[in-house]
Symmetry: C2
Subunit: 262 residues, 2 copies
């Protein structure tokens, strides 16, 4: 959306100058949130489409580039929705699902299953407690929901028919970058033989050979600890759940099972 | 301590009446906190010693019973301190240890190692955040401490030389009843090949054939979630870490390794 706006408004006297400014901006955007793979992937698609373009006059070029960015946003959102449709089909009616943090694909899956006997087990998701937003929405949908601390995940995972989480990125080997705590839930799910599904659009997959995403760390102040001299507060937002803990990856093309991966 | 006071003050006209009242009280105490094995075990010791006693006059009986209760408290506290001495010896100088929640034996082990290059990784321990008290004490001792959310345990356990936790109870097979989240830390430690030690006095071991302790649940209000109709807040305080995740159990007699267990 930043790019679409810039495509329309970036001051420039020529198509060349405008294009150079826009490509620089797209590179900066890709670097600004290194762990947000879809941003990189969508910008990569946009750049590829831009470079294959015949030169137009500036006004027409602005319009074409902006529309291309907006179309990519729509394509990505549609892919996320379709991923949730596949998740809902795979999981079916009358299930108890457990999740951690708040993912848009998981939320959409819940919306699709809310009148089909869905029950949810969700975590508060410290430090920002995204679980509260999820709890409020599920309650509005009248989905019977159990709300726990992260610490209780191993106690409650056995009551779920499946775990369903989203992802911030998926590495080329299928390992899942998601909200810190997902790895613990994956370990607990394996221990209790509960299937562990990851649902996200394919824009979130990183390419083979691409460097590991930096695991972003947020302000220590979010943990609200007094300032004690010998104590360092760490607030890493993401962890990486190894691929071997994942039962299936669900994207807009359907479910991918470990034994049929390329 | 309740029993010592009652031994001295329980209104009674005869030794028989006094003894009956005291035994009823001790049974009630044992049932009042079903997951607190040491309370049961200490009361069991006290009852056994009481029943082997020759009848004295009421004043002498009061004094003897109270002293016996106080002596058991002292014995239990000494056993906990000695357990920590063994833990400190086993772990040695210059180590980074990770723990979860706040255990008196772990705190004592930290005190013994605080001037020997100890570093700690500790969790906030929702919902009551006992980790804060531990952080404040470690900072006062100038022990370099990393403070994290439970969600980050899998990210940080690999930086520890060992995990050291206390226990509320240890089952006869060596499984560990401790603050919820300990099971997750045990899974993460095994995954990262970090030794996982449990340190507590032997009064906390349950006898073979004794029923599983009830896992006590505290007030949902501790999670501070608004009251949403479809949402049930759960606040179970303990989980059970399977014995196979434990590298060694440390009590006042020393360390017990899985391969030399009876």
């Amino acid at each position: 959306m930043v790019l679409a706006q810039a495509a329309r408004e970036l001051p420039a006297d020529s198509v060349t100058e405008w294009r150079r400014g826009l490509l620089r901006l797209s590179a900066e955007l890709a670097d600004s949130r290194p762990s947000m793979t879809p941003v990189r992937n969508l910008l990569g698609c946009w750049q590829a489409e831009m470079s294959g373009e015949t030169v137009l006059d500036l006004a027409a070029a602005r319009q074409a580039a902006a529309e291309r960015a907006e179309e990519l946003i729509a394509r990505s959102q549609q892919a996320a929705r379709t991923s949730a449709v596949h998740a809902a089909q795979l999981l079916g009616a009358g299930r108890t699902l457990m999740t951690h943090s708040l993912s848009s694909t998981v939320l959409e899956t819940c919306r699709l299953l809310k009148d089909r006997g869905l029950r949810m087990i969700i975590t508060e998701s410290r430090p920002l407690e995204e679980g509260r937003r999820l709890a409020r929405q599920l309650s509005a949908w009248k989905v019977a929901t159990t709300y726990i601390t992260e610490a209780q995940m191993a106690l409650f995972v056995a009551r779920a028919d499946a775990v369903l989480v989203g992802a911030d990125s998926v590495l080329a080997d299928g390992s899942v970058v998601n909200k810190a705590g997902t790895y613990l839930l994956g370990l607990a799910a394996r221990e209790q033989r509960v299937p562990f599904y990851v649902c996200c659009e394919s824009f979130k997959w990183r390419k083979l050979g691409e460097a590991l995403p930096e695991l972003e760390e947020m302000a220590p102040s979010e943990l609200k600890l007094p300032d004690w001299p010998a104590v360092t507060v760490r607030n890493v937002y993401f962890d990486i759940t190894p691929a071997r803990l994942v039962s299936a990856w669900i994207d807009e093309t359907g479910a991918r099972w470990p034994n049929v991966r390329p």
